[in-house]
């Protein structure tokens, strides 16, 4: 009975004094939103940066001045790089195809080789075997095609009614041009377009400085571009960004603490009369403390629930905007945020509790 009246009073304080309660809960909500968002971005920073920086997997890119690489140029490249230490190497061929009467770019390559220079390729499904392809995410969405579906490919300029049937082995997400392409095996490209030796692009991932190799290749009329890698600075960038995020998080936590403390203090100051009355009616200091703590922690948890939810959403949105890659929600942050919100309000309620302890019950009679 006594216990239930405690909650009756708590409910009344929170829901019948809504405008004041909202002010306190809002401070917590804003703080928790920022904290959750920052933490969830900070926790994912390593993966995101790695994903971004690995985009420069290849550091030497060979193309023709115009049109395709001819056999001599490919041979020259092979010779020039014969002694180089390679982490990866892939040969690509671009073709214009049609799928469902829509033009689509076809990228023919050995996917396993491509992955050695484009490690950021994110494939859901399997690597394509014979008569199988990968669909770029945008193509898959546009044509409403998924893993396991059969599609029919034709050269863009073909007017034939029957094309080459292939099976979709997986969906490819790269964050780049591949999202709008179909990735096929070289054999499939030959079946569609002929020209078994056609090469548009070779990518190498060379250990060490690719600059001398590039120069050697250029002398043979091959366009060889060096891609600067950022790997070395990744750790530093990540460290700096991470430290910054944690710093801001600590700052926000402090601000939230001050904000909640001020709000609760104002709440108690406004209710000095009420507190004096309760004491006059026989409330002990512990009873008053319990009521104030319960009220502010309740407001803290309410604000925390709202804030944590908003924070996760905000982080996902920010991540999508900045990295173009969705952030998997870190559900563990929800209970963590709640604990922080409850903890912050409990700590912030300390000065008001002290102040309430000093309230003299005699003022209820003398009043105003």
């Amino acid at each position: 009975m006594a216990r239930s009246f405690f909650f009756t009073q708590l409910r009344a304080a929170v829901f019948r004094r809504r405008s004041r309660a909202i002010a306190a809960a809002l401070a917590v909500a804003v703080g928790t939103t920022t904290l959750t968002a920052l933490t969830s971005v900070a926790l994912d920073l390593h993966d995101q940066l790695a994903r971004q920086l690995r985009a420069y997997g290849a550091n030497l890119v060979v193309t023709a001045e115009a049109g395709r690489l001819d056999a001599a140029q490919v041979a020259a490249a092979d010779t020039a790089l014969a002694d180089a230490e390679l982490v990866g190497q892939a040969v690509y061929r671009y073709e214009n195809a049609q799928l469902n009467w829509q033009p689509v770019e076809l990228l023919a390559t050995d996917v396993t080789a491509a992955l050695s220079v484009r490690p950021y390729w994110d494939i859901s499904g399997e690597l394509p075997g014979a008569n199988e392809v990968l669909l770029g995410r945008d193509v898959a969405e546009l044509t409403d095609t998924g893993v396991g579906d059969e599609i029919t490919l034709l050269p863009l300029d073909s007017t034939a009614l029957t094309g080459v049937p292939v099976r979709v082995a997986g969906i490819l997400v790269s964050g780049g041009a591949e999202d709008a392409q179909i990735v096929a095996n070289p054999a499939t490209a030959v079946e569609l377009f002929g020209q078994p030796d056609a090469v548009d692009l070779i990518e190498y991932s060379v250990v060490g400085d690719p600059q001398p190799l590039a120069r050697a290749l250029q002398q043979q009329g091959v366009q060889a571009a060096v891609v600067k890698r950022l790997e070395g600075s990744q750790a530093q960038v990540q460290q700096a960004l991470g430290a910054l995020l944690w710093l801001v998080a600590a700052l926000v936590l402090t601000l939230m603490l001050l904000c909640v403390a001020t709000t609760t203090l104002a709440l108690v100051a406004q209710r000095q009369g009420e507190i004096a009355l309760r004491k006059a009616l026989g409330a002990s200091d512990q009873a008053v403390r319990r009521e104030i703590l319960a009220e502010s922690v309740t407001l803290g948890v309410l604000g925390g629930v709202v804030g944590a939810g908003l924070g996760l959403g905000l982080a996902a949105l920010a991540n999508q905007q900045v990295f173009g890659h969705p952030l998997a929600p870190q559900w563990l942050l929800l209970p963590a945020a709640l604990v922080v919100a409850a903890g912050v309000t409990a700590v912030a309620a300390w000065p008001p509790v002290q102040r309430a302890r000093r309230v003299n019950p005699a003022i209820v009679l003398s009043g105003e």
Binding site: M1, A2, S4, F5, F6, T8, Q9, A12, A13, R16, R17, G273, E274, L277, R278, K279, A280, L281, G282, A283, S284, D285, A287, N360, P361, A362, V364, L365, S366, G367, E368
Partner: protein, 214 residues
Amino acid sequence: MSLIELNGVAKAYGDLLALDDVSLSVAAGEWLSIMGPSGSGKTTLMNLIGALDTPTAGTVVLDGHDLSRASARELTQIRRQTIGLIFQKFHLIPQLTAIENVMVAQYYHSLTDRAEAFAALERVGLAERADHLPRQLSGGEQQRVCVARALINCPKLVLADEPTGNLDEENEAQVLRLFAELHQGGTTLIVVTHDPAVAALGGRTVKLSHGRIK
């Protein structure tokens, strides 16, 4: 036997002597009226008798307890057990309904009992207002809730500081009728008032002037 014994009581607020050498004895079951001009120390006296404050000098004995020597915790205990308070400004808790305001007194005293709280509201004629918030009640109705709250724990002593100062005639009559009932039931009443007609209802009137009993 006297319920209250004040002996040479003084209360100073800094340099200001609000009460000066006050001695007073109130018998159990007595209805005592206290009069005096504003600032004469009436409320200060009520605070001391009501265990809300302690004297600077002298002794206050209430129901066998020496309040001047009691700790804050003991004072709380005595207030809870012995005293019902009625205020000029009602002092209801704004976010609680009429019945909940009555139950607050039960809550700090012992256990809440909704039926009993409702009966107290019935007694002051507010049964149908039980679930209204204070701001939905008139001044007279709020004062009657305050009376119901004061009598819910059946205190030995009811202290009322200008209880009818803010009421119209009809509500004043109603509150005074409740006082008469309490008095008949054996409750000791101390009522501070400016109104000689109200004071006349008590068995005895004490007049204060500049912190002294005249």
